[in-house]
Symmetry: C2
Subunit: 513 residues, 2 copies
């Protein structure tokens, strides 16, 4: 056979710009986040679909406005022209249009998307990154699906252990439209004025007003009228105040939006979401395709003025972005909403031609949630730290002079444990040294070791030792156990250990500190 | 705000050639397969890494021989030239070379790879498909890691419920090399003769001999000597026979290979893998980079002569393919090995320049495992069928004249269940009809429904009903339960139901039929 020669590489060993390898404990934490989110999605009837990583180029074109230039194309190697997906929303809408027998579905998708943007690794802006979307398509009673998506959002952050430390900013496209109409914004300025309002989370009103009047030529009186509305935040109180506003009541769009919000707040109450809701009149979001309620989730330190946002590039027009962009990847929006979404009733029709399927959804910014989770884990107690390996037991052997290594005996014991569904490891050395075996067990962080010895073996016994017991503990040196019932004994001890250690399991425990 | 207009699409709504959307029950089954495999990988200390879907073009070049033409390139949009990954082995080797502090790791990766091949959907040959790899990198005692990888392979198929219905064909590169030397194959014909031998799983010896002598110009006497060896299959018996062969004993390569096999069989014995092993002298595998043991897993109907393979394109030279190709995607090899792998000690050195890290690994062909699993599920009992939704409870309400729909009450009850980690659903209709609610519960396949009624509610009670109870069962119409302790009661009933229904959980149960 031809033997490979070790060639010297003449090129740089690296991953492409804006991408990274995920490994080590970061990978474990990210997987925990995915598992946590998936569990909530499934609890709410979520089913996943898996679409190809590239789509026909024409499917994506005309969906992202100016940002289309960020789409990765595949080389033309003959055949169809394809592009890497830019988000998960357009492929979902394409799927709905292709599967016209599906009249309603709660679908989630956790997958990578691709944007040929200028990467900013420190800010978590990557060219390849995950999106994590839950969307409800179909006709439900007014605001019922919207309230469910917001409940799911809240339950995701509770399951991640955020324990109320997040705010769901919420507004409604129709209320915004109504306010702009009532204040007298000319039709052709609606979009640009809306994008100015959206900057109120980062800029004081005076600066936003300046942008409206000086840059965008809005009548200062109109701007002032907008300002009176846009700076308001609150909850049911604000809603009631706006409902009493005669000008808004007389406006069809505003009053429809306010009626929606009233229903939404009513439905969110029994589901325990209202304490985390902030009705925020300045929330506008850049996307054209939203048609109803819009929302964005922020957490401690993820909103407010930052070095980065204090110099907004106001000369650059606000880009028409897709549903997911500002949630996780757009530095021009906020300093870090950790999730965002809204209702988009007309997108599927862009593919199906006529059949519209109303949709409402949420997208979680995994990279940001990861950064925050990692910080919180760093500050958390040792017992909450995830382990690099899933190994629960390390099987080792020791002996005196003439020690054989007990390889076949270790093989037999480890097999017994595997058969009982126990994650057991052993050193892949025929004659291992005891200190090396203990070191391996410690590195893996196993809670228990099983120690074989030639004398004990002869009596049909072995030792089970819990790691990390304090000096003086009666079982510090382990306990003798019959080889026969070993798997049951280890299982029992593991269950007890888990019950004591993990009162609340997973990331949710972060919220209990 | 600008309103989207429903445009008529002027292009075909489809996914790119050779790709597909995964959805519905297929998606559920595939996820179950992934979860099952991952559990075994983790049991054996497997850690996952996630590499980018595209690599620098130069990383992939020179690794796949002729098949390099199947690599998808990204368009040159400025900046680095990149290609979609072709397998997971080369990115893993690249990662090892970049992370030189890692001297040993058991890593798994389950991810999509891309090949611009002629798709054959019915045969499961796609342009975008999953690979599912486990590899052990590092220096371990001779054959210890090899035996562990084969044990993992066996445990994966047991966990998938194959219950012994698979054969691990095994051979050794050094034994093959030795045999070819002993038989007198000229150095320059080694590769082409090896690839002819590999066809013995599909062709009778006479045809393979013809290919060797007529097409490839091998001396007929040499061919006959090879034939005597290559047609042999067996276990420890065959090994002992070969060890007594004086010509092989005198050959350095063959005797090293046979010594490896002896150790391997010794180690596989206590781990219960030997009953599924077939030492198959005709197994050669196409890949240049294997340096030791090689293996391939077949199952009922996945090997032997097929319509497809009875006409091998012998005019086409056997392509130098990567570790994973023939496992899942290469129609020219076998009719369906469901997993394959081997030892490759020199690949990492191609990247690192000098530092070699010996590796041994296995790759599972997910698409084929999926097809077989789906067939077996179709023939299995109803209780083993996966459910489309994870919902366990459906909360509904009914009432007589003036029925309000009990929306807030249903909201409160469903919230109680969610808080107790129960997957509960409800109809998102303020005034639902009872038959529609029952229909939804049946569609979801929930085992239990909770029924609210205005009279029961007034007494602080509701009804819990198990679905699908036979006529005459005392609880056929449900039982009255206090609203107060509802979550506990439902949890208790769910656990009991699960314990009765799922003696062995997951796909493993398929093997118990």
């Amino acid at each position: 056979m031809v033997k490979e020669k070790a060639e010297k590489t003449s090129y740089q060993l690296k991953v492409p710009k804006g991408t990274k390898d995920w490994d080590g404990i970061d990978m474990v934490i990210r997987d925990q986040i995915f598992d946590t989110i998936k569990k909530v999605f499934k609890r709410h009837g979520g089913r996943t679909i898996d679409t190809p990583v590239f789509e026909l180029k024409e499917i994506l074109s005309g969906k992202y406005g100016e940002d289309s230039k960020l789409i990765y194309d595949l080389a033309d190697q003959g055949g169809e022209l394809c592009s890497l997906r830019y988000d998960l929303t357009v492929p979902f809408a394409r799927w709905l249009a292709m599967n016209s027998s599906v009249s309603s579905i709660s679908r989630y998708q956790i997958a990578k998307v691709y944007r040929r943007d200028q990467p900013a690794m420190t800010k978590g802006r990557m060219r390849e990154f995950y999106q994590c979307d839950f969307d409800m398509a179909g006709v439900y009673d007014q605001m019922a699906a919207d309230s469910k998506v917001l409940t799911i959002t809240s339950q995701v952050f509770e399951a991640l252990g955020w324990n109320g430390r997040y705010t769901i900013k919420i507004n409604h496209r129709k209320i915004l439209d109504g306010i702009f109409e009532v204040c007298g914004v000319p039709e052709e300025k609606l979009r640009t004025i809306s994008s100015a309002v959206d900057k109120l989370d980062k800029l004081p009103w005076a600066e936003v007003r300046k942008e409206m009047t000086e840059e965008k030529g809005l009548d200062p009186e109109v701007a002032d009228r907008i300002g009176e509305y846009a700076v308001q935040k609150g909850g049911v109180d604000l809603l009631e105040k706006l409902q009493k506003d005669e000008k808004l009541a007389a406006n069809a769009s505003a009053s429809a939006g306010l009626a929606d919000m009233a229903l939404l707040f009513e439905y969110l109450q029994p589901w325990g979401v209202m304490p985390n809701i902030s009705f925020d009149m300045s929330l506008a979001r850049g996307l054209d395709y939203y048609t109803g309620v819009i929302y964005e989730v922020i957490t401690e330190g993820s909103a407010g003025k930052s070095k980065d946002s204090s110099k907004p590039d106001s000369s650059k027009p606000r880009k028409p972005v897709d549903a997911d962009e500002d949630r996780s990847n757009d530095p021009s929006v906020g300093v870090g909403s950790v999730a965002a979404g809204g209702r988009y009733d007309n997108l599927v029709g862009m593919f199906s031609g006529k059949q519209q399927i109303p949709c409402v959804g949420i997208s979680f910014g995994v990279e940001r949630i990861f950064s925050i989770t990692k910080q919180r884990l760093a500050a958390a107690s040792a017992s909450l730290q995830p382990r690099l390996s899933a190994a629960d037991v390390y099987v080792m052997a020791f002996g005196g002079k003439g020690f054989t290594g007990m390889w076949p005996e270790r093989q037999t014991v480890v097999k017994k444990l595997w058969d009982a569904d126990i994650n057991a490891e052993l050193q892949l050395k025929i004659k291992p040294k005891l200190p090396q075996q203990f070191k391996a067990a410690e590195t893996l962080g196993v809670p228990f070791v099983v120690i074989l010895g030639e004398e004990e073996q002869a009596k049909g016994m072995c030792k089970v030792k819990e790691m990390g017991l304090p000096e003086g503990h009666p079982e510090k040196d382990g306990v003798e156990v019959q080889l026969d019932g070993l798997a049951d004994e280890v299982k029992r001890r593991l269950e007890k250990w888990r019950a004591e250690k993990e009162v609340v399991s997973g990331l949710q425990a972060l919220g209990m500190q």
